[in-house]
């Protein structure tokens, strides 16, 4: 069953549509990776889903509720954290917890304290003294303490180093083992998502390019290398996503719906990075995303 559904969803800033005609389903119980270049509409989508902004077209519905019209019923069910968590810097971690318990009807303070202890974050520490990684972890612990059914995370790890990202993801994975959660996580760092998220949505220019089960997507995509003149004769190709060709040889990134039987072609597995890049390259405007990936590879 879908927890979150967008239909013909659109959002305009001035004359430019940040999202247009978006159809997106988020199945319940999944950990969904929302992937795309800067400007693809990831943040816009999450803000509409949270009710922070109002759609200019179409609808977004979570648990059958409109995030804005039914806010009173919707907000207790949903948790949210973003790249720069707006935590009060002069508060201590303990004071943030106390504030959370007073502002929320559903609140599991005990679990929050236990998680913070496990992370080695003392309740007496002031927010200002925390590292970026710790701040992200505190924001996640607070969002989880609400006991949300749906957790929306907007680039929560964008400013974190690999170790802090690993710890953040470990916390999220442990939480998803402990409580009944659907998670939507937007990120432009692909590598971390393969083993953590079990559903993938690729967004470009405000619309969905690819959506489905993570293992299925990675398992069905392959790189095929073989003679140019027989591209159209390969059996069981569901879709050719990307073609690079020289005079005689072609290298294809394809989605298969059956085994490769043609002996003229050789097949190689592809990782999630390559699949996502191939879908993004189908759109012209990928420069910023490629730069991100290149910077990541160099670091």
């Amino acid at each position: 069953m879908n927890v979150l559904e967008a239909r013909e969803l659109g959002k305009r800033y001035g004359r430019k549509w940040a999202l247009k005609d978006l159809a997106l389903d988020v199945p319940g119980g999944r950990i969904v990776a929302l992937v795309g270049p800067n400007g693809a509409g990831k943040t816009t989508f999450l803000q509409l889903a949270m009710g922070f902004a109002k759609p200019d077209a179409g609808t977004v519905v979570a648990f059958g509720l409109s995030p804005r019209r039914d806010a009173a019923a919707f907000l207790p069910k949903v948790g949210y954290a973003a790249q720069e968590p707006p935590l009060f810097r002069r508060f201590s971690v303990g004071e943030l917890l106390k504030m959370g318990s007073q502002l929320n009807r559903r609140w599991d303070g005990l679990m929050a304290v236990r998680r913070l202890r496990r992370l080695g974050i003392g309740l007496d520490l002031s927010v200002a003294s925390l590292s970026g990684g710790m701040r992200a972890q505190v924001a996640l612990v607070l969002a989880l303490a609400k006991m949300p059914d749906l957790l929306l995370l907007d680039e929560p790890m964008a400013s974190l180093d690999p170790l802090a990202r690993h710890e953040f993801m470990g916390l999220l994975m442990a939480a998803s083992a402990e409580q009944d959660l659907t998670v939507v996580l937007s990120s432009h760092i692909i590598g971390d998502l393969r083993a953590t998220c079990d559903y993938l949505v690729v967004l470009t220019r405000g619309s969905t390019q690819l959506a489905g089960d993570m293992d299925e997507i990675v398992g069905t995509h392959q790189r095929l290398v073989g003679p140019v003149d027989s591209i159209n004769a390969i059996g069981y190709v569901q879709e050719i996503v990307q073609v690079e060709r020289s005079d005689r040889q072609a290298s294809l990134l394809v989605r298969m719906r059956g085994p490769l039987l043609d002996p003229r072609w050789e097949s190689y597995p592809v990782d999630l990075d390559q699949i996502v890049l191939a879908y993004l390259s189908r759109n012209a405007n990928i420069s910023s995303f490629e730069t991100d990936l290149a910077a990541e590879a160099a670091s």
Binding site: G170, M173, A174, A177, R194, A195, T196, D198, D271
Partner: protein, 127 residues
């Protein structure tokens, strides 16, 4: 987890555990870490861990005791020296066939890797 292995995280985990059983790093009666702890430490989806544990339970290698945890039920032993020698001879015969068919060493390795990958996937699907 190795994102470049071409295997799903679930199969990688199954492989790592069977490897530990084969090398006797895990012994009968040992308790495996909880799904939550593996998910937290490796930063992997808890369903992946659950699926790997179930797969190994079905093979009789692990046993789950509700409320107490998942335990090693059986260790794996490598093939006997005799079996190993016979398998090696068969493989050498096969390599000769491959050479006669015009495959160089690299093509053999590629074919081997691809077949193992496909075989592992088929096995996982079949079970």
């Amino acid at each position: 987890m190795d994102p470049t292995s071409g295997l799903t995280p679930y199969l990688q985990l199954v492989q790592q555990i069977t490897h530990a059983l084969r090398l006797s790093q895990l012994k009968v009666g040992d308790r495996l870490p909880t799904v939550r702890d593996v998910a937290a430490q490796l930063a992997i989806n808890p369903n992946t861990v659950l699926k790997a544990y179930r797969h190994l339970e079905m093979q009789g290698l692990l046993v789950s005791r509700p409320g107490t945890g998942v335990f090693v039920a059986k260790e794996l032993r490598g093939p006997s020296a005799q079996d190993q020698a016979a398998l090696r001879r068969a493989l050498v015969r096969w390599l000769t066939h491959a050479k006669d068919a015009g495959l160089d060493l690299e093509s053999v390795q590629a074919l081997f890797a691809d077949t193992i990958r496909q075989y592992t996937i088929d096995e996982a699907v079949a079970s």
